[in-house]
């Protein structure tokens, strides 16, 4: 087999063995990883676990959609590829997390049902990810904050008593470290660049900063699960993440920022979103809603 091109084998008449089997190309994995079906760990409430997986899954799904909107719009081709790759990593995390949520909440909904068939009020993502991209500097500021925060959470989540969360976190932390580094490089380059790039990077940070308080505010389900050893209380990562961001901003000659303000309540974790989420989901869900159950 070595040296054969499996795409040819799949596309050609010799490969499929009849039927639609050869159209497996492009459909991704047809069964979620084993960890999705694991038992709910002792001490963890089933509904809390489903809610928590939905929160982390929705953060990644919506952020991936925003990053994907840079395709054909990024400053250079390499950057489009980079942002699309980051989006793909986050989408991979979202798939497993949403599949896990659907498994433990007892409804039997798969990842597609959760991604495509919920309304905005049922999404549990933080508001940071739903804000429009703005210019490249603002997107960079968001990616920096998001990846620094998620990396800090996932690093701790590797010790979760929930096998699915621990597995996603171990896999995802490696990806997020790379994402954070990418955002750090751009922040340094733009912040410590020309007067114009410096100003736009500073504006980007200022636009994103008020949304950061929500990242460190624990939902009641998060707090209960954290006590049971299955989740990470986001308040725990606050000092570390703000320290990382402070170091990057200082090195990028962007100066310090005061602590981000406390979030308004109810917030994204409660399903209370800004006006930007509904149009984003309308686009994300349009094909699935127009052609229910379609496969290709």
């Amino acid at each position: 087999m070595s040296g054969d091109n499996p795409y040819e084998a799949l596309a050609g008449p010799a490969g499929g063995g009849g039927g639609d089997a050869h159209w497996a190309f492009g459909t991704g994995f047809d069964a979620p990883p084993d960890e999705v079906g694991a038992e709910v760990p002792a001490g963890a409430d089933r509904a809390d676990l489903a809610a928590y997986c939905t929160m982390l899954g929705d953060d990644a799904l919506v952020m991936a959609q925003r990053l994907g909107q840079w395709c054909t719009r990024a400053p250079e081709l390499e950057e489009e590829v980079a942002l699309a790759n980051i989006a793909l990593d986050l989408l991979g995390q979202a798939r497993v997390l949403l599949a896990r949520a659907g498994h433990v909440d007892g409804t039997g909904r798969d990842e597609d049902a959760l991604a495509y068939l919920r309304g905005p009020e049922e999404f549990r993502n933080v508001r940071l990810v739903e804000a429009p991209n703005g210019d490249f500097a603002r997107s960079t500021a968001r990616l920096l904050a998001f990846s620094a925060w998620r990396l800090a959470v996932f690093t701790r989540l590797t010790a979760s008593t929930d096998p699915a969360l621990a597995a996603v976190a171990a896999r995802g932390a490696k990806e997020l470290a790379y994402h954070r580094d990418h955002a750090v490089r751009w922040t340094l380059r733009l912040g410590d660049g020309t007067a114009l790039s410096h100003q736009r990077m500073a504006d980007g940070v200022d636009a994103v900063w008020p949304l950061l308080g929500e990242l460190f505010a624990a939902d009641p389900a998060e707090r209960r699960l954290a006590a049971a050893g299955a989740a990470v209380d986001p308040a725990e990562v606050r000092a570390e993440v703000l320290d990382v961001l402070g170091q990057v901003l200082t090195a990028a000659t962007l100066g310090g920022r005061p602590a981000p303000p406390a979030p308004s309540a109810p917030g994204g974790r409660d399903g209370a979103h800004t006006e930007h989420l509904a149009p984003l989901l309308a686009e994300l869900q349009s094909v699935a809603r127009a052609h229910p159950g379609a496969t290709w």
Partner: protein, 169 residues
């Protein structure tokens, strides 16, 4: 294979020889993503792990595993995926690294060990992967994200050829 015991050694070999769709010079054995092959109630159960959680090649790999095993006479095949422990580029075999270089792809270096991820703010070390074509050490990174999730794009300063580098994860 009907009625008889499943020839696990054969199944293991056939599964291990399936090639990766994105790095077709590598077999699943070379890449280190084949976790387990076992017989379960007359069924061959193959367990693989993705290189990246969102790796779109996994669906192709699963289909190709089923196809190759069916061609080798295994009627009932199930492909499972597991995430833990996460794949590491350290799992690419010596043979796999040799094949990568032979095909103009720079293999990954050793992976940083576990622990908090250091924040790098200064200039990056000049030492990148050696050019897989001419062997020169002087290479530069063109893009940290290549055509597939597991590669980055570099260029040799000596022979000027661009080349892919399998990232260290």
């Amino acid at each position: 294979m009907t009625g008889g015991a499943v020839d696990l050694a054969l199944a293991r070999r056939v599964a291990g020889e399936v090639v990766d769709p994105e790095l077709p010079m590598l077999t699943l054995d070379d890449l280190g993503i084949l976790r387990d092959v076992r017989a379960l109630g007359g069924e061959v159960v193959v367990t693989v792990t993705p290189t990246y959680a969102g790796c779109p090649a996994l669906g192709v790999i699963a289909a190709e595993l089923r196809r190759a095993l069916a061609a080798a006479g295994f009627g009932a095949v199930r492909v499972r995926t597991v995430l833990a422990p996460p794949w590491s580029s350290d799992w690419i075999s010596a043979e796999g690294r040799r094949k990568l270089v032979e095909h103009g792809v720079a293999p990954p270096g050793p992976v940083r060990r576990a622990g908090p991820v250091p924040l790098e703010l200064g200039p990056r070390p000049a030492a990148g992967p050696a050019c897989p074509r001419c062997g020169a050490r002087a290479t530069e990174e063109l893009s940290r994200f290549g055509a597939t999730p597991c590669t980055a794009l570099h260029r040799c300063r000596s022979c000027l050829e661009p080349f892919e580098h399998v990232k260290e994860v």
